[in-house]
């Protein structure tokens, strides 16, 4: 091994952006950003959603052409105008979601990732070369295993190995841990850090998790609204400083105090639920869970363990194969009638995609829950658009939705404002049961704080809240009780006060 490492040592690439600017129409996505990543560095790129991180990376990868600015690879100016040019320059990217072919083996996936495949592949020679390549690597994945059988952590390792196999010595990792358990994340980032420390590779990691920055990165750059706002050696900075750089002067709503003894007679019971996924395979099996009024039960788990199917079944987007949901002892079906009877509301992830109709106006979108009831509906079925607009105008004001007018199509609003419009619709009435799924996905800090405070508010008012989130920190912060979902089942339930990150992580990984 020592020999092998020596053979590939000191091949890391340095990269420098000078005055990178990218303008889309009237939007300045990236404004004169200069960043230097030294060879062998583990550099973190921090920023909120929409800060310009992905725009910068896409300019480096040749997906976008910067409006102005230079890119220097190992000190020499490089013109990268296509992804192929980036590959030739030794710059590779590991995307947030896997780019593997599940039905092929590890070896096949690695071979097909090459751009220069001959018409007839000499598999024997290729496999020998791959085996030799794996020998030199500090971590391995079984070459003959079908990718479908790999765990998420193994897949992520394979993605990284793939880049190394393609001889990419500058690795861009785009939020690489969002699909991993905490233990897998630590292992993989550790391996990557060690390779960087040996000078084999240079790493640029996009992230919004401070923990990963302080634990693994050695330098950091922070972007906010397209501007470079600060950075430097990680050892010189506190998490507090980084967070202030990321958020800026935006006022963040203080988290609402969690009231101690909320009195509520609401009781939700999920009783032996079975749900299939879109391929007809069981996704949720024999799931039992009770949620009391005035309580937030958070479901933690690695993405793809049945959480989204569970939420969809409760929200009427997917049939329940078996089992029943009871609210206050009475059976509940996901119909409009039962939503109204039991006052069930929902905050889905990515509201523009899941909770709104893009081309309908803000007023119409706000009316989804009430358009068929007086005063908006006369005679039971006749719409009253003026009532709709009046109600919307009130809610737009009280929930501070920034929109030119109630008649603007909702797709023209920013993510945070769409989310606020949905909050206005779902939370402005009397809420008894609230189903929340990844509520903060893709939102800026101020909006995240706002939504979390609203969820706590509803809990304090006596609502039974089911929170499903892939962000363990979010679950830990908001929940009164935490349930871990793995392989379609609840495998562990613990009161928040007694919750321990490591134990939860073990249950998330399915071995405990």
């Amino acid at each position: 091994m020592t020999l092998a490492v020596a053979k590939t040592a000191a091949r890391a690439i340095g990269l420098e952006c000078r005055g990178m600017t990218k303008i889309f129409g009237s939007l300045v996505a990236l404004d004169d950003v200069s960043i230097t990543v030294k060879p062998g560095a583990f550099h973190a790129l921090l920023g909120e959603n929409g800060a310009g991180k992905s725009t910068l990376v896409k300019c480096i990868m040749g997906f976008y052409q910067p409006t102005r600015g230079q890119l220097l690879v190992n000190g020499a100016e490089a013109r990268i105008d296509t992804p192929a040019a980036a590959r030739d320059a030794g710059i590779g990217m590991v995307y947030q979601h896997f780019t593997l072919v599940p039905c092929l083996t590890v070896a096949e996936n690695m071979v097909i990732s090459r751009g220069d495949l001959p018409a007839v592949i000499d598999w024997k020679a290729e496999k020998a070369a791959l085996a030799a390549f794996m020998e030199r690597m500090p971590f391995r994945v079984p070459l003959e295993a079908p990718v479908a059988n790999l765990a998420a952590g193994e897949k992520q390792k394979l993605e990284i190995l793939k880049q190394l196999y393609l001889d990419q010595r500058f690795l861009i990792l785009d939020e690489p841990t969002s699909v991993l358990t905490p233990a897998e994340a630590d292992e993989i980032l550790g391996l990557v850090r060690d390779m960087a420390a040996r000078g084999d590779i240079t790493v640029l990691m996009i992230t919004h998790k401070f923990r990963e920055v302080t634990a693994f990165a050695d330098s950091v750059s922070v972007l906010r609204r397209g501007l470079y706002v600060g950075g430097g050696a990680v050892s010189d900075m506190t998490t507090d400083q980084m967070s202030r750089l990321m958020i800026g002067e935006t006022k963040v709503r203080k988290s609402a105090a969690r009231l101690a003894d909320v009195v509520s007679d609401t009781k939700v019971e999920l009783n032996a639920l079975y749900v299939d996924d879109s391929d007809g395979m069981p996704a949720v099996e024999a799931l039992d869970l009770k949620i009391a009024g005035g309580e937030i039960v958070g479901i933690a788990g690695v993405s793809g363990n049945g959480q989204s199917e569970l939420v969809e079944a409760i929200s009427g987007q997917r049939p329940l194969k078996d089992g029943r949901i009871f609210i206050n002892g009475r059976p509940f079906d996901a119909t409009r009638k039962d939503y109204d009877t039991f006052k069930v509301f929902g905050l889905p992830e990515e509201p523009l995609k899941n909770a709104t109709v893009r081309r309908m106006s803000v007023a119409e979108n706000i009316a989804f829950r009430s358009f068929d009831k007086p005063p908006m509906a006369g005679l039971g079925w006749w719409l009253r658009p003026s009532e709709m607009r009046r109600k919307a105008t009130d809610l737009i004001a009280s929930y501070r939705v920034k929109t030119p007018s109630p008649d603007t199509p909702i797709e023209n609003l920013s993510g945070g404002n769409v989310q606020r419009a949905v909050l206005a619709r779902e939370l402005s009435g009397d809420v008894r049961v609230l189903v929340v799924a990844n509520p903060c996905f893709g939102l800026d800090f101020a909006s995240v704080a706002e939504i979390r405070a609203q969820i706590i508010d509803q809990r304090n008012k006596g609502a039974a809240v089911l929170l499903v989130s892939e962000d363990l920190d979010e679950v830990l912060e908001l929940s009164d009780r935490i349930a871990v979902m793995s392989g379609g089942r609840i495998t562990y339930v613990v009161p928040a006060a007694e919750a321990d990150r490591n134990t939860i992580g073990k249950h998330m990984a399915g071995h405990a």
């Binding site: 009237s26 609204r225 009427g316 996901a334 006749w382 030119p404 008649d407 023209n412």
Partner: protein, 367 residues
């Protein structure tokens, strides 16, 4: 920045509502003009004068009282089949089965008419019963598609297309066998319902009542889709089925209801073809009205009121066909070439949606 953007804009376009309307109108108009230009090139290639062509379309479609009535007559089935496509389109389904529903509806009306006429039923009663029959048959056919879509996740476009062939084959099966009028030697047909039982023209014109029915239905369906809770729920479902489900809207029932309306409109078109034009069911029912209706609906952007205008435009193109054939020595298929061009260019120009800066609301996405 906002002011700099909005200053050169016409005042009317300052309101986001009007901007959206302007965009909705502009895109089909751009498509029509582009298609006319491309088609002119085609005519020049054939050595014909494009200006003469468009002048003849005007003359043959709207030039005289006779040609105008001819146009409206031809527009009648197109309004109904256009509506048959538009209503499912609003709920997000691409159903192209209007041709089948028209044929099967018309056939069912003709088949029911035979015993009624033989029994000497009053003409009014016979017409009401056969119209109901045609609408129910068409509705049933498209509801099969709706059920397959919602209950079994079968692609509705393919299902409706295949059912159209089954519908046509079913009519042929009966017309050439069990229900064939022995007197129809060369062209197998059902027994004619007879002049006394046929629907006359709207008084003072030569346009049959199907045009009036189309007008009334267009207005009613426009009200239904834009002013009622049913229409609102349908638009939510069409815009985002997942959001509709999460709101507990009865998506399955909405789809079935829209399918039923669609089939009933097309079936009614078949009824008028039989009782106002042909007097019997035969292969003449398979005239492509159902498919032209798709084009009409797209050009009208699935707006029931706009469908009336577009259907009249297409009626004019068809009405002027004979004149163009005679004066310019162009084959009958010329009109089909023009229609096809319009459709392809229209589908392509749909991608302009949201890309014309003039129609975009002043963005505050960065804020």
């Amino acid at each position: 920045m906002e002011q700099a953007q909005s200053a050169p804009m016409p005042r009317l376009l300052a309101n986001p509502r009007w901007k959206a309307v302007a965009e909705t109108v502009a895109i089909p108009v751009i498509a029509l003009v582009t298609a006319a230009i491309v088609f002119s090139g085609f005519l020049l290639f054939l050595g014909k004068n494009p200006l003469q062509f468009f002048a003849l379309v005007w003359q043959g479609g709207f030039g005289s009282a006779f040609s105008l009535q001819n146009t409206l007559q031809r527009a009648a089935p197109l309004i109904l089949t256009g509506l048959a496509f538009a209503i499912p389109a609003i709920i997000g389904l691409t159903m192209i089965g209007a041709e089948g529903a028209l044929v099967l509806g018309g056939f069912a009306a003709a088949a029911l008419a035979v015993p009624l006429v033989a029994a000497g039923s009053p003409p009014m009663l016979m017409l009401v019963l056969t119209a109901g029959m045609a609408m129910c048959t068409g509705a049933a056919l498209i509801m099969i598609v709706g059920w397959l879509r919602h209950g079994r996740q079968v692609n509705e476009t393919i299902a409706s297309l295949l059912l159209t062939y089954i519908a046509i084959a079913t009519m042929n099966f009966f017309v050439e066998g069990l229900l064939r009028d022995p007197a129809s030697a060369n062209k197998p047909s059902t027994v004619p319902i007879g002049k006394d039982y046929m629907i006359g023209p709207i008084p003072g014109t030569e346009v049959h009542w199907g045009f009036a029915a189309g007008l009334v239905l267009a207005v009613l369906l426009w009200l239904l889709m834009s002013r009622t809770t049913f229409g609102f729920a349908a638009r939510v479902t069409g815009g985002n089925p997942r959001a509709a489900q999460a709101q507990g809207l009865p998506v399955g029932m909405l789809i079935l209801a829209c399918s039923a309306i669609s089939g009933a409109c097309a079936g009614l078109a078949g009824f008028y073809e039989v009782t106002a034009i042909h007097g019997q069911a035969n292969a003449s029912l398979v005239a492509g009205f159902g498919f032209t209706g798709i084009l009409v609906s797209f050009l009208a952007r699935h707006n029931p009121l706009a469908i009336v205008i577009v259907a009249i435009l297409f009626g004019a193109i068809e009405a002027s066909g004979g004149l163009i054939q005679r004066r310019m020595d162009l084959p009958d298929a010329t009109a089909a070439v023009l229609q096809g061009l319009i459709f392809v260019i229209l589908l392509a120009s749909e991608t302009l949606q949201g890309r014309i800066a003039l129609f975009q609301p002043a963005s505050d996405k960065r804020a």
